[in-house]
Amino acid sequence: MTRAQAAGLPTREADSAAASAVKALQAEGRHADARERYAELVARHQRRAARIAFHYLRDAAEVDESVQDALVKAYSHLSSFREELPFEVWFTRILINGCLDRIKARTRRERWLVPMPESPHGQRDFTERVAGTGPSPEDQLLGRERRQKLAAALARLPERQRSVFMLSHYEGCTSREVSALTGLNESTVRVHLFRAIRRLRTLLADDAASIGVGGERRRVTS
């Protein structure tokens, strides 16, 4: 079992077959059947797409929109899909480009707008709090702080390093897959991944120190 399969990625053969079938149905004008078949692809890729978009955007509403846009765009441009390229790669490229466009638009917008301050708990709204029987409040708080630190550290990485790290580490893609997704060389992907980890180690030095790792790492002096 490859790392990609272990990460829950759908089988490529099934994807390609489904995408080709949808393309053929579209060409025949059987749109209802094409939609029905495409729903399988949506169901298979939706969760992973939401995860990837969330790593980029970190806003659930915006992630929702970007995933929807990417799925609709993929369906409407399926005629340009080539069977030799895996559907997953083709679709993820559309998704990532959409996310990057949204980040650019958000950056432009935030130049003029002051964002609403978040509550001390890191939640924007009380309605976002959901009662549950999961971890204790202390664990939740620690976990939330850790996630915030990680998100802040990731946000400080250059765009390519961030993309490569997220795709490699979070989604379990190999360097060849990341290369196909990002358009970078495989060797460049490896270099970016190495640099991303090294930089994250520096940025999250306190977190790393708390688990007894460090050795000869550089410390950030403030």
């Binding site: 490859t2 790392r3 749109h31 939609r35 495409y38 729903a39 949506v42 169901a43 939706q46 969760r47 939401a50 995860r51 969330f54 790593h55 659930a60 992630v63 929702d64 995933v67 929807q68 799925l71 609709v72 369906y75 409407s76 976990g143 850790r146 996630r147 990680l150 997220m166 490699s168 580490h169 979070y170 190999t174 360097s175 990341v178 495989e186 992907v189 490896r190 991944l193 190495f194 980890i197 090294r198 994250l200 180690r201 999250l204 977190d207 790393a208 688990i211 007894g212 790792v213 460090g214 050795g215 000869e216 790492r217």
Partner: protein, 226 residues
């Protein structure tokens, strides 16, 4: 030769120390990152001669991979929490609705101002009427400038008193005289004005009118109190 000896000793020491240090030197974070990224990128397991023999580096490398796994789990949990199954189901339904809408032709909603058709036969007729009225007004004004038509509408009064007075002063009348209403005698009655001043004709007309008046039903007789 001192320099050669010096070089030989220093060089030998340097090479030995380097070799020894290379064997004994523990791996740092950069090396761990390099090993890990190679392993991940190629989908292989980590292989390093020092790491396979040094227990200290092995434990540190294990901690390093634990740290990375924790990052992975945190990020994954956060994303999964943000998108529970019901939200994903709603998202899928929304995607399918959008796909269905793609195939329907766009519906153009008419702006309220243009809700009623601008051009119609009724509009043409109204325009012609307005144009004719305007043209008539212009023609009337132009004609009024050239012709004095005021005398057409002025009433002509022929009273016996005036006729006799004119006969005394001017002789026999040559034709009908125009007398302004303001200049007429105040003693002239309505019957005189309407029927030319002949008492016999006046009384006869009055009798006839009274007879008509008698047979004409009054409104108060018809519409009784309700």
């Amino acid at each position: 030769m001192p320099p050669a000896l010096a070089w030989g000793e220093n060089g030998a020491v340097s090479l030995l120390s380097r070799y020894g240090a290379g064997r004994l030197r523990h791996l740092d974070d950069s090396r761990f990152a390099d090993l890990w990224s190679r392993a991940v990128a190629n989908g292989e397991s980590v292989s390093d001669p020092h790491l396979s023999t040094c227990a200290q580096c092995q434990s540190r490398y294990a901690a390093f991979t634990d740290w990375l796994e924790r990052i992975h789990d945190d990020a994954r949990d956060e994303a999964e929490d943000a998108f529970p199954p019901d939200r994903l189901a709603a998202q899928q339904a929304q995607v399918m609705r959008r796909l269905e809408a793609l195939e329907r032709p766009a519906r153009v909603i008419m702006f309220p101002r243009f809700g009623r058709p601008v051009t119609s036969t009724q509009g043409h007729a109204q325009r012609w009427i307005a144009a004719a009225a305007a043209a008539g007004l212009v023609i009337g004004l132009a004609a009024g400038q050239f012709f004095d038509v005021r005398h057409i509408f002025t009433p002509v009064v022929r009273t016996p008193q005036l006729q006799s007075a004119r006969a005394v002063t001017q002789g026999p009348p040559s034709g009908p005289q125009i007398v302004p209403a303001s200049a007429s005698n105040s003693a002239v009655s309505d019957e005189t004005l309407f029927f030319g001043g002949d008492p016999a004709r006046t009384s006869g007309h009055l009798q006839m009118l009274r007879a008509i008046d008698d047979i004409t039903p009054r409104a108060r007789d018809i519409d009784g109190p309700r």
